[in-house]
């Protein structure tokens, strides 16, 4: 871990952002604000049928047209932001935290613990994520906690492998040896010595994983795992209105664009981070 001296300018994680990075950051910020204040700014109730037509076009009354039942698409996207961002964030938070904790533990403790944990993670990776999602739906149905946990479980192995690889590298450093023979315990080693050194790449990885989770979320809603109606995350919005695709309906294009704008922005923001951090987390 040789970090170059961070520049003093302000910005995310202490880095200066390029114009592209700044735009990406603003887009993410925009969606975050929408997610927080959604219910206050949505023009119509999310479940109310307000248009006699279905897949209505964009109009002054319905900025993003209407959906397959004739509900206002703008309101649905605004409220969907909360679920898309919230679920993905919660999922990635749990996945990354678990992955990092286990990864560091495997690196610090080593031995059979590491072997067994790594095998378990391998086993988990080898189960296709969408099938796993389907089994969960079949077993416990589609609830918010089930959804978040499913996403988290699917992404834990990746986060684990990533964090473990980083932690193993850090673990060989002399300062860890110094701390060990000072008599420090494993918890201190992990939290105080290793974590600060892997946190930046982990955060970059966190961002990438967030993107994948948003996409997986949309994939799962294609398979029927999503939030309870009439609310819907963006993936579910695309899915429930997919028939509108042939009509070129805004109802299917708008949420697709919302997903793309969010994921592309997160990606661009990560790509804007200094290479040292970024390239590790591809």
């Amino acid at each position: 871990m040789t970090q170059s001296a961070p520049t003093k300018s302000a910005g995310l994680f202490g880095y200066r952002l390029s114009p592209v990075g700044s735009i990406a950051f603003l887009v993410i910020l925009f969606w975050a604000v929408i997610a927080i204040f959604g219910p206050q700014i949505a023009p119509y109730p999310v479940g109310k049928i307000v248009d006699m037509d279905y897949f209505g076009p964009m109009s002054a009354k319905f900025w993003l047209g209407s959906d397959y039942l004739g509900r206002d698409m703008l309101s649905r996207i605004i409220l969907g932001a909360r679920y898309t961002l919230g679920i993905a964030l919660a999922g990635v938070l749990i996945a990354s935290t678990t992955g990092v904790v286990l990864g560091m533990a495997a690196a610090v403790v080593g031995g059979w613990f590491d072997t067994l944990l790594s095998r378990l993670m391998d086993a988990l990776i080898s189960i296709p994520s969408k099938l796993f999602g389907l089994v969960v739906v079949a077993a416990v149905g589609s609830s918010l906690p089930a959804l978040i946990l499913t996403l988290a479980v699917i992404y834990v192995p990746g986060a684990y492998r990533f964090a473990r690889a980083l932690a193993v590298n850090v673990n060989t450093m002399d300062f860890i040896t110094v701390a060990r023979i000072r008599g420090e315990n494993t918890l201190y080693l992990a939290i105080s010595e290793i974590l600060p050194n892997i946190i930046r790449p982990v955060l970059a990885d966190f961002g990438l994983r967030f993107v994948f989770i948003v996409l997986l979320l949309s994939g799962l809603s294609f398979l029927g795992l999503g939030v309870q109606p009439p609310l819907a995350d963006w993936g579910a919005l695309v899915h429930e209105n997919i028939q509108g695709l042939s009509l070129g309906a805004a109802a299917v294009i708008a949420p697709s664009l919302a997903i793309a704008s969010l994921t592309i922005s997160v990606n661009l923001l990560i790509d804007d981070l200094p290479r040292k951090i970024r390239d590790r987390s591809a």
Binding site: A138, G224, Q228, P229, Q243
Partner: protein, 533 residues
Amino acid sequence: MIDKITNWTKSDDARVEDAIRRGASRRELLKMMLAGGVALSAGGAVFGRAERALAATPVSGGHLKAAGISASNADTLDPAKASLGTDYVRCCSLYNRLTFIDVTGVPQMELAEKLDTKDAKTWTVTLRKGVTFHDGKALTSADVVYSLKRHLDPAVGSKVAKIAAQMTEIKAVDANMVEIGLKAANADLPFILALHHFMIVQDGTTDFSKGMGTGAFVLETFEPGVRSIVKKNTNYWKPGFPHLDSFEFFAITDPNARVNALLAGDVHFASAVNPRSAKMIEAQPGFELVKSTVGAYTNLNIRLDMNKPDFIMGMKHIVDREQIIMAALRGFGEVGNDQPISKANVYHNADLKPKAFDPDKAKHHFQKAGVLGQSIPVIASDAADFSVDMAMIIQASAAEIGMKLDIQRVPSDGYWDKYWLKAPIHFGNINPRSTPDIYFSLLYASDAPWNESQYKSPKFDAMMLEARGSLDDAKRHAIYNELQTMISDEAGTIIPAYTTNADGISSKVKGLQVNPLGGMMGYAMAEYLWLEA
């Protein structure tokens, strides 16, 4: 198309055509059986068109590809186990029943030459002569006895074991005659024998993967969950049938993919098209939509044992039936009046009006029930068609009067086992049945296996049995009218609409008619269709 008749579809044409074609033979049958009728809402022009269509004679040959809606590794050629439309379609192409329901909803003889009874309790089936299985073996009464008795064996896992249970005695009288003794009189046996599950298989068959039947087609390929191909049975006993050289059937589960496949010319037939895709099909030349409203419905069930009669009454008034048809079904449905017998059935009680959408009245009932302000869970699932959309529409209406409904969308997988009949408030999905008695005994009798709202009424039971044993049609009409009213007023099943099934077809596909058993001519279309050159 005649523009002035907006509600008139090609299927209605077909119905008229068939009525004309079959007129004579039907009168014969009516001596013993009940009368069926076609409600004609259009004038002479319809007849004119029907005659033109009839002039087109069937073309022999061709390979038809049809796409159903569901496939599974559990796909089977065992009629007793058939559970999906896919299975019915395949079985119908390979096997025959003793009777079948024609496009007017009337049982016709198929493998049976005639059915005789004096008391509706003991029935004699005389088999058609000269019918052979695909392997050349002649059909005998042993095959029939075996085919019917199977359903009584739990190990077979028959879907109709419950219905078959009334056949207490099944025996061969001679090589050509079978006697069926019923537990109680049932004038509907000809309808029951027309159920797809009672198809006739060869005596002693346990391996059904060969599809050995007497049907119009011989099995060529069958891959469960993937597809089947059947070839014309050149020795088929029905002269002139089938028209097709071969028939390929598989499922495209994704509704859009199904429509896309039709429009791309990959398949000739796409069943159960989503109403929202209708525009797209109708906009493209060379494709048609065949609609049939035959009594399938998705209903909201509130269990009566929850002891909230006012809540149920409130719910009946907060269901905006027009909006459900408009928004959820996009016009592909008819308003329902909370009882299962639809207009497609001759016994439909047209005087029974649906409960009006009346939020104020609903609010009054909810207040009385003391549920306002509470959050009431409503279970919906994609397993019950349109139930999630209906739930959302009802939820939005209820929210306006302060009634909070909490929709819980649960997985299709396991829905029937886990939620249906069990959850206090849930959706059900009922396929068309041929007789009121089947509906009532299945759904509303006190001992009904699928008593969706736990409706129990000794009066209802008694009247139902009375009608069942009666051969007097006027009397049955009267009883059934009253039973429908009872269900509508007393049961906890809210049937907001009868859904319209729409099959998308290439214009080359001819001979498709509407059958009261559902889309795809009650799944039996394979032998009737032909491809225009």
